[in-house]
């Protein structure tokens, strides 16, 4: 892409310092925004059609407009808990261009009328947090955050909060509980954070990439930004590609390019001599797609229409030599580990899915177990406070649907290998409760 918005000269030495950032025009979007009323800034955000880059893809402008008007403490929280497997784009942004994020936060807070803001960064990102801390200090010193920013009426505090390792804290309400100093359990919605979020106050929560896009929208104008990409998926998107590709990494693409172009053109495709078996288009939570679906345009709606999702923009490519059962087990174990345990369908569903997959892997299952496993997934989806359980159920469900033959073959091969019969001999001891060892 020739006109990178987020990644333009990202490796320029010293870009993480205020001096270099300002020398190349940084914070001029903020100056421009502060000349406008919050409503005018919001108008630009809505016109841009920018959709959330964290996973859900909700229109950012709309989210801002949901916050109640009037004078009260309102909060802006930047979700930097990037932990969706396969995603590492926010890491690169924060590490190399922290002031872009800070500028975006101040503009968005101005539009939303928020006077307190937080960045919730995952605890593992030590380097990125240190860089952000230094950048925040510089910005505060220069009057870019704090009381009456650049002489305007806008006031904003900004605090960097380091997490301590929990995937669920990337879920917006789990994040809020964690930021309030509790276990990161998700909350019941409604009330939505826009009405009752952090410390029970109205709260706007946005992803790092979403907020980092805001300065560009202010610079070029919302309508101009909306010309990039395709209808209903406007703008550019950072894509993290990993797994079996020759050039894994972050790429900035214009939404709507064919997925094949990203996987083969940019990332070089799988290593010589191997073919793609399947690929996750948007992190490990997205249903897998097959090589036949490589020509789907990479945007929110096209991927949704194909039964998957763009999610966080993390493509994981899996080659033909990887057993699908092994992949499913890896996914299921991750979600079992990360389930907070609050809702039964997720806590038990993830646990049982792992057990059933282990039985499949050992050849102790029958093909009928695949149907039972699919039904477990059906019972998780939509039945929990948050979508962590769904995030396991969707990819596992898609793997069973698309690779059922391989699952059945795997069971049969493992059964033969381990010399098991289909009807197990009755156990010597009567099992009263098999939950612990099954």
């Amino acid at each position: 892409m020739s006109d990178a918005l987020l990644f333009k000269d990202i490796d320029e030495p010293g870009l993480n310092t205020l001096a270099v950032y300002e020398a190349r025009g940084g914070y001029s979007a903020l100056r421009k925004a502060l000349q406008l009323t919050p409503a005018e800034v919001l108008e630009q955000l809505e016109a841009s059609g920018l959709r959330g880059r964290g996973g859900a893809g909700f229109q950012m402008g709309k989210k801002v407009s949901f916050l109640p008007k009037g004078s009260m403490n309102k909060y802006l929280v930047c979700n930097a808990d990037e932990s969706e497997p396969g995603t590492f784009k926010d890491r690169e942004l924060m590490q190399k261009n922290p002031h872009l994020l800070i500028e975006g936060i101040v503009i968005a807070a101005h539009a939303a009328g928020a006077d307190r803001s937080f960045i919730y960064i995952r605890g593992e990102y030590v380097l990125q947090a240190d860089i952000l801390d230094a950048a925040i200090a510089e910005a505060r010193e220069a009057g870019l955050i704090g009381e009456r920013i650049l002489g305007s009426d806008t006031t904003l505090s900004l605090v960097l909060h380091r997490g301590a390792g929990a995937y669920i804290c990337g879920e917006e309400t789990g994040l809020l509980d964690s930021l309030e100093g509790k276990r990161g359990n998700p909350r019941l919605k409604p009330p939505f954070p826009a009405n009752q979020g952090l410390y029970q106050g109205p709260t706007l929560i946005n992803n790092v990439e979403t907020l980092s896009t805001v300065p560009a929208i202010m610079q070029m104008g919302g309508e101009q930004y909306a010309r990039l990409g395709v209808q209903s998926s406007t703008g550019t998107k950072l894509v993290s590609i990993s797994g079996h590709v020759q050039r894994p990494g972050n790429y900035e693409i214009e939404l709507g390019v064919p997925s094949r172009e990203i996987i083969y053109g940019l990332a070089g495709g799988p290593p010589e001599g191997s073919e793609i078996k399947c690929w996750f288009p948007g992190g490990s939570s997205s249903p897998v797609l097959t090589p036949a679906e490589l020509d789907i345009p990479y945007d929110f709606d096209s991927l949704a229409k194909a039964g998957s999702m763009l999610g966080s923009g993390a493509i994981i490519v899996v080659d033909e030599h990887t057993p699908i059962v092994e992949l499913a087990l890896k996914v299921a174990k991750f979600y079992r580990h990360e389930s907070c345990g609050k809702c039964t369908p997720c806590r038990e569903g993830t646990n049982w899915t792992v057990k059933m997959l282990e039985r499949i892997d050992n050849g102790e299952a029958t093909p009928m177990d695949l149907d039972i496993m699919a039904s477990v997934q059906d019972h998780i989806i939509g039945n929990c406070l948050c979508v962590l359980g769904d995030a396991m159920a969707m990819p596992i469900g898609s793997m069973i649907a698309k690779f059922r033959d391989e699952f059945e073959q795997h069971i049969e091969t493992a059964r033969m290998r381990n010399n098991l019969t289909l009807t197990p001999a009755p156990a010597d001891e009567q099992v009263l409760f098999a939950g612990g060892s099954a």
Binding site: E12, L127, K182, E252, A267, E338, R347
Partner: protein
Amino acid sequence: MTAIPRLGGSSRASGWDRATDSEKDPALIPDPATTEVPAELREQIEDAMARYPERHSAAIPALHAAQDLHGWCSPEAIEQVACVMQVTPAYLDSVASFYDMLETSPVGRHSVYVCTNISCSLRGADALLAAVSEAAGDDPEFNVRAFECLGACDIAPMASVDGVYVGPLEISDVPQLLEDTRAGRPVLPEKQLATRLVADPDANSQEFPAHAVEEGKR
């Protein structure tokens, strides 16, 4: 007190595999007059509390600070944090047991988190973890563990060594990795994420990547 056997399950449900002594009175908020807290730790916790509108928000930063001092969230560490924050130890225990980076039992001083999530395992992370575990052996200085996606799939397979991301790692890097850590040197300097350029060839104009490579560091 006999341990109550529990079903294996989600790691985040605290008390799942720990027995509770119901004979004992619940611990109260520690009395500042009788609880000794190292001055430096007290200052760190008070600083953290001052950053938020609600003091409870400082729980994670405060536990991080206490863990840095004590090596893990020991009962003594929890007691000290509880005293400064004026909350019950049980409250902090509930927080500490939720998060992967907060240790609720004693561990080695140097943490080596090996990412074993999808992208890393597709590129050999499980063998890497086995190699690191074997090489570290029972050295009490090391806390080697499998970790969920660390957000660095571009350098898969990778590890976070005392918070420093290194990758892509080969099995042959393992002795050097441990040796550097033991000696307190920067770990595998040429494989650190900090010096890596973005993969997107269109992101940089011609002159910048060259500079960045020369300086070797951002």
